[in-house]
């Protein structure tokens, strides 16, 4: 190797290293204010197809960390700790999530990782956390049928989202009693979610007139539209579990084909929140439904403060939504658990976590023995200005069911991590 090329590589290495340092130096916290710092891991897709959604989670997690630091950090046995973070990019690639998890746990020694969005990324990370007995906080509503000792789920389980939604659509919506059509993207969440919906409708006495799945990346909806028209000639309910951009294609094309609320077709979506309405355009979505635990339009002091703080930090035209609220909650729940345990030790925090309560933007939430949250369920209808009009909400928080009670393979099972004889899956 010649001298010049050596020098070049030297330079390149220095530049790369300094870039890496720049990329990794996270939190903007005043040094000296605390007795010590604790570094947590944030692991979401910052690039690739999922970046659009997942970066919003990183933003609220940083906001929660900043708020906690400004309020005096975490106090553990008399000492105050400031929170610092290491940001890693899962790159919308599931094996990368596992690899970066290993790095955060082994190399950086973080006590907790906040991360993930898709079920596929969670399934990829799960074995890593279980084998290293580390702890992952996962913020997204998902299909359930999982209850790991090493994952804490702050999103809704099906009985906290799809089940109340199906019941509402079947019993009390303008299309009550009409047949259902199920549309989803072709991967694990929609298929599992629709299996549950079908079982539930069977027990309610409803009719599933058809179902179809769109391969990921496909935006041609014409054959599905003909099928919907054939299956629901007099209107009905469409349960939509499409993912991301496919929603745009779907809603644009069904509107021009006359599948609209005015003609008696009501779409209930499980992945349309305020951020998606902003992208798709309210003119295509107005009059359709969604079910979540949190809506930006919730008119409570905690909810308004959450949105105002977020807009103050990231811009007044930004919106907040359910996944962001879950991500925000989990940072606070971790802090409460650490303070309750009086230690950052995994096992002690895990035990302390159960029973922790937090006054979230959606209302009170509580960590249950199955590592899920009890949460309030709300049904909203999209308004012309891109918000949700909340038309129904449960009396109080609904208890989470990790194992679904409509799905025959998991019926009669539950999960309890407070009792060593019960664990991940025991018979009720």
């Amino acid at each position: 190797m010649t001298l010049t090329s050596k020098r070049f590589f030297g330079c390149a290495a220095t530049v790369t290293a300094s870039l890496a340092l720049l990329a990794c130096s996270g939190g903007d916290m005043g040094a000296g204010q605390f007795d010590d710092t604790v570094t947590v891991g944030l692991l979401h897709s910052l690039s690739g197809t999922m970046a659009i959604s997942e970066t919003t989670l990183v933003e609220v997690e940083k906001m929660a960390i900043k708020e906690i630091n400004e309020a005096g950090g975490i106090t553990v046995s008399g000492k105050t700790y400031g929170i610092d973070y290491i940001e890693e990019d899962g790159a919308s690639d599931w094996p990368t999530f596992a690899e970066k998890s290993k790095k955060l746990i082994d190399q950086d020694g973080v006590p907790v990782v906040f991360g993930g969005w898709t079920s596929a990324s969670r399934k990829a990370m799960l074995p890593v956390y279980e084998s290293k007995d580390a702890f992952l906080y996962y913020p997204i509503q998902y299909e359930g049928q999982e209850c790991s000792k090493n994952i804490f789920y702050t999103g809704a389980t099906p009985n906290q989202q799809s089940e109340p939604a199906t019941e509402y659509m079947y019993k009390r919506s303008p299309a009550a009693g009409k047949p259902f059509f199920l549309v989803g993207s072709d991967y694990v969440f929609p298929r599992t979610s629709n299996t549950i919906t079908k079982a539930q409708l069977r027990s309610l006495g409803g009719v599933v007139a058809g179902e179809d799945y769109l391969p990921l990346g496909n935006t041609e909806v014409a054959p599905i539209i003909s099928k919907i028209k054939k299956a629901l000639p007099d209107g009905g309910v469409i349960i939509n579990t499409l993912n991301g951009d496919q929603n745009v294609a779907f809603f644009k094309q069904i509107q021009s084909a006359g599948i609209t609320p005015q003609n008696g077709y009501y779409v209930m979506s499980y992945s349309i929140a305020e951020v998606e309405i902003d992208t798709i355009g309210p003119e295509y979505l107005a009059g359709h439904y969604a079910a979540w635990n949190y809506f930006m339009s919730i008119d409570s002091p905690a909810s308004r403060k959450f949105t105002e703080d977020f807009q103050a930090m990231y811009g007044s035209d930004r919106v907040t939504n359910d996944p962001m609220e879950s991500a925000y909650n989990m940072v606070y729940l971790w802090k409460a658990a650490v303070e309750k345990a009086g230690s950052f030790d995994d096992n002690e925090v895990r035990e302390a976590l159960i029973g922790v309560e937090f006054d979230a933007p959606q209302g009170p939430v509580k960590v249950m023995p199955n590592h899920h949250l009890s949460q309030t369920v709300r049904i909203g209808v999209v308004t012309d200005d891109g918000q949700f009009d909340i038309i129904e909400s449960t009396e109080g928080p609904v208890l989470p069911q990790a194992w679904n009670q409509f799905e025959p393979t998991s019926k009669g099972y539950a999960c309890d991590w407070t009792d060593s004889t019960k664990g991940a899956r025991y018979r009720l």
Binding site: I52, P223, G258
Partner: protein
């Protein structure tokens, strides 16, 4: 009868999107033999152009004509992608003629660059850059003969580009006033169809969505225009001459380099028009090109490389098959078919499985006729 019409309409609707996306590639890949993997990204540029034009038409002064923005978008999108294509041809592809593998890799690289470009550049700046290129390229034509004659060529070029740059900066500054265009965002954006285009028309018992109708009309116009251009216009005849025999054409005084640039520019411009069509159906994002590139190559290969009519037939054929298989039409036509057959039809009557079956059919067909539906006949001199 209704069934037949519905199926036919759906098939034509699906096919016209495919055809629109593939038409530019039929020119670039079919006539020039350039494997352009950045074709999808040229579609994407067209889709983003629609978004920019739409936002300009939301300004107070232009609001009354909002309903007509889509027509302006078609023209501008053609120009945006055509210029991007020209720059691509001049800078990269020209150096790689006759080296298909190198072209393939280089254009793939270009596609990644373009994707990252729209992710990280505010649309206002991107428009400014485009305006600079447009004015800079047109300047020699725009300036009056009197002025051109008075200055030395070098001075003229420098001054021309400086003027173009000023125009570009002006455009960027003007568009920065629109908040949606002033910030870069990796998030997908939304193109809202004008109000008259959002509904459907009742034709007998058939409901025809207006955006679909618009895309079909756009496709028909584009096909007729390109057909006329290639077969009737002087430059079209030159293009065909060069594709058939480059050396002889060169000897006869046809400026082959200009012909290459023109062909590539037109193919790219058609991709831009496809971008407008695509933006009416789905969302507009950096990855939108990837959804169409495979389908486009498939259509061109199936139709027979170098034959426009093949691309047309292949698109509508695939469109019809998608509808017939995907919506399970056979069961409707013949409800009393034997249960085994019915089960098979039903199994493939989902979008995913229909796609699998169509790909399998295409592969099988190409095994039997490797040159596609309409193979080129006669002697061809390889470029």
């Amino acid at each position: 009868m209704t069934l037949l019409f519905e199926s036919l309409f759906n098939g034509v609707a699906i096919g016209s999107v495919l055809l629109m996306a593939a038409l530019g590639l039929a020119v670039v890949f079919g006539l020039m033999g350039v494997i352009n993997l950045a074709h999808g990204e040229l579609i994407m540029l067209g889709a983003y152009t629609t978004y920019v034009v739409q936002n300009i038409f939301k300004l107070e002064a232009l609001k009354p004509c909002f309903g007509a923005y889509i027509f302006v978008a078609v023209l501008v999108a053609f120009m945006v992608s055509a210029i991007a294509g020209l720059v691509l041809e001049r800078s990269v592809i020209r150096r790689l003629y006759g080296r298909p593998l190198a072209t393939l890799l280089a254009t793939w690289g270009v596609s990644l660059i373009l994707q990252q470009f729209v992710r990280t550049t505010p649309m206002a700046y991107a428009s400014g850059l485009w305006m600079t290129l447009l004015l800079g390229l047109l300047m020699p034509v725009l300036l009056p003969q009197r002025i051109r004659a008075r200055f030395r060529a070098l001075h003229l070029r420098v001054a021309g580009w400086a003027l173009a740059l000023a125009g570009g900066i002006g455009t960027a500054a003007w568009l920065s006033g629109i908040s949606r265009l002033s910030r870069a965002s990796a998030r997908n954006v939304d193109v809202t169809a004008p109000k008259w285009m959002r509904g459907g028309i009742e034709l007998g018992s058939l409901n025809v969505p207006v955006p679909r109708l618009f895309i079909i009309c756009l496709t028909v116009v584009a096909v007729i225009a390109i057909y006329w251009f290639l077969n009737r216009s002087v430059w079209g005849i030159r293009i065909r001459a060069v594709t058939q025999n480059r050396e002889i054409s060169d000897c006869l005084g046809i400026p082959t380099q200009t012909v290459d640039a023109l062909t590539f520019g037109i193919g790219s411009g058609l991709a831009g028009v496809a971008g407008v069509a695509v933006s009416l159906l789905g969302s507009v994002g950096p990855n939108v090109g990837g959804d169409y590139i495979v389908g486009s190559f498939m259509v061109v290969v199936l139709g027979g490389v170098g034959k426009l009519v093949g691309t047309v037939v292949a698109s509508f054929g695939i469109g019809l098959l998608t509808d017939v298989i995907g919506a399970g039409r056979l069961l409707e036509v013949w409800p009393s078919m034997p249960p085994t057959c019915a089960a098979v039809v039903e199994f493939f009557a989902t979008t995913s499985m229909a796609k699998v079956l169509i790909f399998a059919l295409i592969v099988a067909f190409l095994q039997l006729r490797p040159a596609g539906l309409f193979p080129r006949k006669g002697r061809m001199v390889e470029a």
